[in-house]
Symmetry: C2
Subunit: 387 residues, 2 copies
C-alpha cells in the first residue's frame, strides 16, 4: 500500500439539537482537531482548509468558507466550500487529501458543518429537500423519507426477513449510540419497538430514519512523509473513490442498488490494493436503515440481498466479524449534513488509534468510510489504515 496522506488530528462537537450557531460549532470542531494533534500544531500551521456544508444554517449561504478562514485567522489561507449534499464531507476529504499530496501545504484542515434546527431565515425542510431531484421528485412532493421508503418497499418485497434486518440496523445503531457521548440519541431501542413505531414512509417507521441534527466535525491532514512530525500514530489514507449517478431514482435501472456507491467502493479498493477481507470495520451512510443494507451490498461485502442474513447474524454488531457504524451511525449519532462524512473519519481516527473508549473495536487496523449524497446520486468512499 502507498499511503496517500495521513490524518493527524480530529475534532467533533456533540450532535443534536444544539444552542450553538454555525460559527461556534465550527470553532469547537476546529479547536478539537488542533488540540488532538499529539505533538501540537496551532492555526498558523494550517496551509489550506475545506468546508463541507449544505446550507450553513441558512445563514452564510454563499462564500461560507470565508467564515472558516475567519476562524483560522489571521493566516488568510485558501478556503473553499465543497457541496455534494449529504456526501459533502466525503468529497471534501477527497479534495483535502489532494491538497496535501500536492505538497503546497504542510497541514490541511477539512471541516464539515450543519446547523439544521432553530434556523435564522430558512425552513428546515428547505435545506433537506433541495438535495433531492427537483424536476421529478421534490416538486412532485417526494421527500427523502419517501424515496428511501420506495427503495425499502422493493427490497422488503424481494428478500425474506428484510424488514427484521432493517429493525436490527436501527436497534444495533441505537445500542452503539449509547456508547458515544457525542451521539444525538443515546438510548436503546428494541427491534420490536422499531417494528411497532409509527410509519413515516412505508415500510420505514420512525426509528428507521435518522434525525435532523446540528453539529460539526473536523480533521487535520498531513502528507504521509511528514505525518510523524505530528504524531507517532497517524491514520493513513490508503484509497479514495468517488462517483456520481442520475439524481432521480426513476432514471436508474434498479431501485435497490446505488451504482455510485459500487463504483466509488471499487475505485477505493483498487487504489488501496487491498481486499474487502482486510477491512476491520465500516462507517457507512445509514440515513435510513435501508441505506445500511444497500451499502453492505454495494460496497461488495456481501452479494445482493446478502445484507439481510449478515445483519441478522449479529456480524455487524461491535462484537461481530464486521462491525458497522460503531459510533451509532447517522441513525443514532445524528446527521448534520455537511458534518457527516468528516465525522466518519473522526470515528475511524479514534478507533484505529485505540482511543474510542467504551465503543473501541479491539485491534482495529483498517476501516472504510462511505458517504452518500441524496438517494445515491453522489458517493465517496475512503479506506484508512493504522500507521
Amino acid at each position: 500500500m502507498t499511503h496517500r496522506a495521513a490524518v493527524v488530528g480530529a475534532g467533533h462537537t456533540r450532535f443534536g439539537v444544539l444552542a450553538d450557531g454555525p460559527r461556534a460549532l465550527l470553532r469547537t470542531a476546529v479547536d478539537g482537531a488542533l488540540a488532538s494533534i499529539d505533538r501540537g500544531a496551532d492555526r498558523s500551521s494550517l496551509g489550506e482548509a475545506f468546508l463541507a456544508t449544505l446550507g450553513f444554517g441558512g445563514w452564510q449561504i454563499g462564500n461560507s468558507s470565508a467564515v472558516l478562514a475567519e476562524e483560522i485567522s489571521p493566516a488568510g489561507i485558501p478556503t473553499v466550500r465543497v457541496e455534494n449534499a449529504c456526501a459533502s464531507g466525503g468529497f471534501a476529504v477527497r479534495e483535502g487529501v489532494r491538497a496535501v499530496e500536492r505538497g503546497e501545504a504542510d497541514l490541511v484542515l477539512v471541516a464539515g458543518l450543519e446547523k439544521m434546527t432553530d434556523l435564522l431565515n430558512a425552513r428546515r425542510r428547505y435545506w433537506l429537500g433541495v438535495s433531492g431531484d427537483t424536476e421529478w421528485e421534490r416538486l412532485a412532493g417526494l421527500t427523502f423519507a419517501g424515496v428511501y421508503g420506495l427503495i425499502a418497499s422493493e427490497y422488503v418485497a424481494r428478500y425474506p426477513h428484510a424488514r427484521d434486518a432493517l429493525a436490527e440496523v436501527a436497534s444495533k445503531n441505537h445500542e452503539n449510540g449509547t456508547r458515544n457521548p457525542n451521539a444525538h440519541f443515546q438510548k436503546r431501542v428494541a427491534r420490536e419497538d422499531v417494528l411497532r413505531a409509527p410509519r413515516v414512509a412505508d415500510p420505514l417507521g420512525l426509528y428507521d430514519c435518522c434525525p435532523v441534527s446540528d453539529g460539526a466535525a473536523a480533521i487535520v491532514l498531513a502528507s504521509a512523509e511528514h505525518a510523524r512530525k505530528y504524531t507517532d500514530t497517524p491514520v493513513f489514507v490508503e484509497g479514495l473513490g468517488a462517483a456520481s449517478d442520475r439524481l432521480a431514482v426513476q432514471e436508474r435501472a434498479e431501485l435497490t442498488r446505488f451504482d455510485a456507491s459500487r463504483r466509488a467502493g471499487d475505485a477505493a479498493f483498487a487504489m488501496a490494493g487491498i481486499d474487502r477481507s482486510a477491512v476491520d470495520f465500516l462507517e457507512v451512510h445509514d440515513c435510513f436503515t435501508i441505506a445500511e443494507l444497500l451499502a453492505l451490498e454495494d460496497l461488495g461485502f456481501v452479494p445482493r440481498g446478502g445484507a439481510v442474513d449478515l445483519t441478522l447474524s449479529g456480524a455487524t454488531r461491535p462484537t461481530g466479524r464486521l462491525p458497522v457504524n460503531p459510533d451509532g451511525g447517522l441513525k443514532a449519532k445524528g446527521h448534520p449534513i455537511g458534518a457527516t462524512g468528516v465525522s466518519q473519519v473522526y470515528e475511524i481516527f479514534l478507533q484505529l488509534r485505540g482511543g474510542a473508549g467504551a465503543r473501541q473495536i479491539p485491534d482495529a487496523e483498517t476501516a472504510l468510510a462511505h458517504n452518500v449524497g441524496g438517494a445515491g446520486a453522489t458517493a465517496a468512499v475512503a479506506l484508512f489504515a493504522r500507521g
Copy 2:
C-alpha cells in the same frame, strides 16, 4: 516553468438574459468544450468533473453536481460542486488542476454556471446577497453595490482623477464587449455617459456595475504530459494561488486593497516562477469598475494608487502594453456568478491560441486570471502560457 496541467478545450454560452434553464446552459458549454478539442474527445473520455455554481438558478440547490453527471452520462464519473461565491469558478479550476495532476483521470471537466434571471423559486437578490457578510453587512442592508461604493468612495477621496479612471474602465470594457459575440452588452458607452449615469451607490453609477446575467462556461483539462494527445496547441497552467480573508470589510485594516487577491497573486507568481513583466494580458474580476483598479494594484502590476494613471494612459486597452479584460470583463461580458472564473480561462484559451477573432491580442503568450468572491473574501489567481 513546470507546466502543472493543460487546457485542451473550452466552451461558452452567450451571457445575458437567456431563455435557457440551467441544464441547457450547462449542456451547451460542455458540448462546446468537448467539440473544441482539436483531435477529438467525447463525454466518455472525461474522468472527473467539477461544477462551480452559487445557486443553480434556485432550482437544484443541493447536489447539483449530479446534474452535471447526468449531462456526461452514462459514465457516472465523480462530480463535485465547488462554491466560493463569485470566485467559485477560479477555485473549481484549482481543484480540477489538482485532479489532473493526480493522474487519476486523463481528462477533467470544469464547468461554471449561473441562471440569475427568470428564476423558478428564488428571489434574484437572494442569490446575490447571500454571499455578502450576513452578520454585519447583509442583514444591515448593505448590498454588494453598497460595499463596493464604500470602497470606491475611499479610493476616489485618496487618489486624484480616480473617478475618471473608473469611467475609463467602464468605457474600455464596454468597447471590448462589442468585439465579443458572447457578451451580455455589446454597445459602446462613452466616459461622459458613465459619469452622467444615475447613481447606484455613490460614487458608482449604473455603468460602473456589472449586470445580472445567465450563462455557463466549461474547460477541459489534461495532464501536461498528455496534452499533445489532444491538441498541438495546449494552453498550460503554470501557477495557481488562492487565499481567503474576513468576510466583512469592516474587519479589515483598509478598504482599498484586497489582501486575498494580493496573497493569491503572489502565490501564483511564485509557483510559476515568472515576473509580472512576462504577462501579456489579464482577465480580472471587475464586478464593479473599482474592482479592476484594485486588482491591478493587489496583483502587483502597479503600486497602490497607480492603477489610475495606468488606466487613464490607455495601457489597459487591447492595444496598450497591458490589456485588461479584452472580452469585456464582468462589466460588459456579464457575470453569471459560478461561470465567471471559468469564462476567464475560456478567453485565455482563445487568446493564447490566436483564436480570439476581432479581439485577438497579437502574440499573446502568457496571461493571468483573477477571480474574487464577495468583496475580497476569497480570491483565486491562475497563470497560463502558450504551449
